[in-house]
């Protein structure tokens, strides 16, 4: 039933595609971590319009499917003269989508900073920028790093969606092997196992990080 010859044939191709999966995850996460912080700070902006628009944007991005956002960027942006390669489009879509989740994580972190810290910053005559940079964020971010890690794993598991716009990641590679050999069982099972192992390992690492942070 299980074809070992095909397994050994498919494995190098799939592992190579795993590299693309990792690049997409790394790029997407870098964007999500940065943009999420921008959202979190913008939502607290003194300017009511900026705050309102950021609340709504985060809500909208989080309420709509990643796949539709990927298609939107891939098919609609070229109408405006923006033509990125599929992998770039995919990374931007992943980063944008997950920035709506990381924004919530940062928000929780910022809200957990005691009020006195804000008051002290005001008393020391720190400006808005310096209050965030030197007082609030250094206390808000470390406790939420494990939560950010959980979204890193979630994003990793969403990278197969990029197959929809022809990015050659693992699922796309498995589909191609399947259509060439008419056997989907082996390539798809291998992809599933790679995902399972990688997620379980990273979940374990996050748990350890969490315990270390809790001890401090």
């Amino acid at each position: 039933m299980w074809d070992w010859q095909l397994t050994w044939q498919a494995l190098p191709t799939l592992l190579e595609a795993f590299g693309v999966t990792l690049r997409a995850t790394a790029g997407g996460m870098a964007l999500a971590i940065t943009l999420g912080l921008v959202w979190a700070v913008a939502r607290r902006a003194r300017n009511k319009l900026v705050a309102r628009v950021s609340w709504w944007a985060v809500d909208f991005i989080r309420s709509t499917p990643l796949l539709v956002q990927i298609y939107f960027l891939f098919y609609v942006l070229p109408n405006f003269g923006v033509a990125w390669p599929p992998l770039t489009t995919g990374i931007i879509a992943l980063g944008l989508h997950y920035s709506s989740y990381t924004a919530e994580v940062y928000r929780a972190g910022i809200e957990a900073v005691p009020r006195g810290q804000w008051e002290a910053a005001t008393a020391l005559n720190l400006g808005r920028f310096h209050t965030f940079r030197a007082v609030i964020l250094p206390q808000a971010i470390p406790p939420v790093i494990p939560a950010l890690g959980n979204y890193l794993v979630a994003m990793f598991k969403d990278t197969p969606l990029l197959a929809a716009i022809t990015v050659h990641e693992m699922l796309q590679a498995a589909k191609l092997i399947g259509s060439e050999t008419f056997r989907y069982l082996e390539p798809l099972t291998i992809v599933g196992i790679i995902f399972l192992v990688a997620s379980l390992v990273s979940a374990q690492l996050i748990r350890r990080l969490e315990m270390r942070l809790a001890r401090q």
Partner: protein
């Protein structure tokens, strides 16, 4: 006449399929969540291990890979599911794995005196779980279930990739025939936004109704 009206009939057909898929998968997800959550708390070791395995496998792999596996690899074992059935089963089981952990955590968080009182009153293990602990766990379960419900709605878009003619599939078909990608995907985003906002409101209303006359999270 506004330009985009001619796009609506095919998109609304797709929307109807998306709603059916969401409702079907919701039923599966609810059943799976409670079954997995209860099984994780079982006194029987094998039952606990089976629940753990189910939760790890479904949370550890990608929902899209699970869909492809069930739709393309399961036929090798002689099991052929339609795209709709595959979607309902896979998305339901996927979200149910996350829901199982929510149920377990909520039941474990019920104050231990409740458990002790049930023992003192000679309730069986099942009676304690079903009649004492679960009713008190429902309120804390609701908000995370609301979030998972939105995740479920969003994941229905994936079923377009195994050729179910739901909203996103219809959008893709329309795009290849009309090339009006901007209008089409804008409308699709709005549809999902409206649906998920409605679902969030429903959960909030349910939460308000269930918490009438009691403190949040049951008796303390």
């Amino acid at each position: 006449m506004p330009h985009f009206l001619d796009l609506l009939p095919p998109l609304l057909n797709g929307l109807a399929i998306t709603v059916q898929l969401t409702l079907g998968a919701t039923v599966v997800a609810l059943a799976a969540s409670f079954a997995a959550g209860f099984a994780r708390l079982s006194g029987v070791r094998i039952v606990r291990a089976a629940a753990r395995l189910y939760i790890d496998v479904f949370r550890g792999t990608s929902a899209l890979v699970q869909l492809f596996w069930v739709y393309f690899a399961l036929p090798f074992f002689g099991i052929n599911l339609s795209a709709m059935t595959a979607g309902i089963v896979v998305l339901g089981l996927n979200i149910g794995a996350y829901g199982g952990e929510v149920v377990r955590a909520a039941i474990e968080a019920v104050p231990r005196e409740q458990r002790e009182a049930a023992v003192a009153l000679n309730f069986t293990r099942w009676q304690t779980l079903w009649r004492i602990l679960t009713p008190q766990a429902i309120l804390p379960i609701l908000p995370p279930f609301g979030n998972l419900w939105i995740e479920l709605l969003k994941s229905t878009a994936l079923v377009s990739m195994i050729t179910l003619n739901e909203l996103v599939f219809q959008a893709q078909t329309l795009r290849t025939s009309t090339l009006r990608s901007g209008e089409i995907f804008f409308l699709v985003l709005i549809f999902y936004y409206v649906l998920s906002t409605g679902m969030t409101q429903t959960v909030r209303r349910l939460e308000a109704r269930l918490s009438v006359g009691r403190e949040y999270g049951g008796m303390r």
